[in-house]
């Protein structure tokens, strides 16, 4: 009401204000925009935004901005109620300009986020590729997978450790079960447990997270059962240490120097403790096979351990080790996508170079 009164006095510059439902959201939000003359920019002290739900209801101040912005997102609206907005610009403590919406804005929820269309397309294409190769794998059982040095070395490491009469230490890192590398690590653990059972060797798994511990117990037991030696399985070899990063590192270091494992596996997600574990493992003369998707820790594993599964190699490991045709099929699908992406990158670079297509590829891959 105050606004209308002031406008009637005719001393203030009118401002064009627009309000629309914020697109692609879960409702409860209206975006208000207005125009400011560029000559005002230095003078503006504050901008007040008012909201009134319908005629007759008094307006309420929803936000004060202290910068010459021209957009405000009101995240406190109720859906399906028409709102009007008013914007008042102050300069030197005086009202300088004022405006209000002429059309009501109604916020609502949307069923599809169009901004993520390209993500959806990419995901669909990828999934279709994977599905196709999973289907094909049912018939084509002899898929070739190149040698992955770190995985080839698993059997040898377990064997040599057993010959020396030493246990095997398997470290799953700091990942939770909700991290994909941890699930990948379990697949490798199963192979290690299987081999260890064959050789009658002890597998020690100190854990950082209790659920990972449970999953590791199940996995090792399964490995021992598959090797036909369930009698050798000892659940107390797979135990929880602590969920403190360096407390865990201190504890695992202690296990290394006292139990002197012949083979150390560092597989999973790691942070700065990676090098502490790898160097201690080296100092006791164990064969070490590491693997992680933590890009920042890869250099240290490369430097300090005998074999390293680099990033994606870890994910390929489960398929590689299980030799399950369906899993191998997904690897094939992954490779095709890789080739296609390489071509797309080259194509995108060439289109940028020669200014062809008006950045169509680049825009397709922008998510914001």
């Amino acid at each position: 009401m105050k606004l209308i009164f002031l406008l009637l006095l005719g001393q203030i510059t009118p401002i064009v204000v627009k309000a629309v439902d914020t697109p692609y959201d879960a409702g409860g939000s209206i975006t208000v925009t207005w125009e400011l003359d560029s000559t005002w920019l230095g003078k503006i002290g504050r901008i007040e935004i008012y909201r009134y739900s319908s005629a007759g209801v008094s307006d309420s101040l929803v936000e004060t901005l202290y910068k010459p912005d021209t957009i405000y997102v009101d995240n406190a609206t109720e859906d399906n109620i028409p709102y009007f907005y008013g914007v008042v610009v102050y300069a030197d403590g005086e009202i300088f300009g004022e405006g209000r919406t002429t059309e009501p804005a109604v916020s609502s929820q949307q069923w599809f986020n169009r901004k993520r269309l390209s993500v959806l397309i990419i995901l669909l294409v990828y999934t279709i590729f994977l599905m196709y190769f999973i289907m094909r794998a049912r018939f084509d059982k002899n898929l070739f997978i190149r040698k992955i040095a770190g995985l080839e070395a698993i059997d040898e490491a377990v064997g040599r450790s057993t010959e020396m009469g030493r246990p095997i230490l398997y470290v799953m890192g700091l990942g939770y079960i909700s991290d994909i590398p941890t699930v990948a690590s379990l697949a490798i653990l199963k192979r290690v447990a299987f081999k260890a059972a064959e050789y009658n060797a002890q597998v020690i798994v100190p854990c950082f997270d209790p659920i990972v511990m449970v999953a590791a117990q199940e996995t090792v037991r399964e490995g021992f059962i598959e090797a036909g030696r369930p009698d050798l399985y000892n659940e107390s070899d797979i135990y929880y240490l602590t969920s403190d990063q360096f407390g865990y590192a201190a504890g695992v270091d202690g296990i290394m120097v006292r139990q002197k494992p012949g083979a150390v596996f560092l597989q999973g997600y790691f942070f700065a403790e990676a090098l502490i574990l790898a160097e201690t493992g080296h100092s006791i003369g164990a064969i070490q096979i590491s693997g992680t998707t933590a890009v920042t820790q890869l250099p240290f594993f490369i430097a300090s351990t005998d074999y390293t599964l680099i990033g994606e190699e870890m994910y390929a490991a489960s398929a590689y080790l299980s030799r399950d045709p369906l899993s191998l099929g997904t690897i094939k699908g992954e490779d095709y996508i890789k080739m296609i992406l390489a071509i797309i990158i080259l194509l995108g670079a060439l289109m940028e170079t020669f200014s062809i297509g008006n950045h169509i590829l680049r825009d397709f891959f922008s998510i914001f």
């Binding site: 865990y248 080739m339 990158i345």
Partner: protein, 214 residues
Amino acid sequence: MTSIIWTWIAAFFTLAILSFLYKDNPLYKFAEHVYVGSSAAFTILYVWVFDAYPKLVMGFREKVGMQKYLLIIPLILSLFIILRFIKPLSWLSRWSIAFTVGMAAGLGITGLTQGFLVPQVQASFLPLFVQGPTTGQTILLTFNNIIIVFGTIFTILYFYFSREHKGLLGVSSKIGVTILMITFGASFGYTIMARISLLIQRVYFLLHNWLGLV
């Protein structure tokens, strides 16, 4: 006086951990077991104060309607986990694990596509010729973009699994390995400084706060 005692305690634990560098010894063993035991308790306190209490207890108190009753689901899942203590029912804990793994897979797909795949591919669409202000600049900028675009492509091809690395794939994956090595060397060298800061701080603590030499 108390502060002096606590400084000595802090210095003792600092030296006990450092002694591990020489070899395993009773001092380190003591510090290690104190650390593992107390940090396990520490995480429990932390999880209670900052996670479980606000999410569960405060959730039940403050949330209304559907939101409140939905909290029964995680309670049931938690109960299933604890059922591992009762052997005949321990299989129920798999339901809870199945939920967390499903969550991991779902978030893995969306997070990796949105956070890694799409932006990284997009960032590689660089022009292979850049006009700089000087000829030298032009050559340098062009050269940089060529290295980034082809370096990325060759590294991706190194991870090609389902074909022998021979012929064209062999050459490109060999270049990929070379780029990987430079990458690893550089980020190794880059990290050293941050690590040394930690050591300096510990040594400064010993020499300054404890011994008062500096």
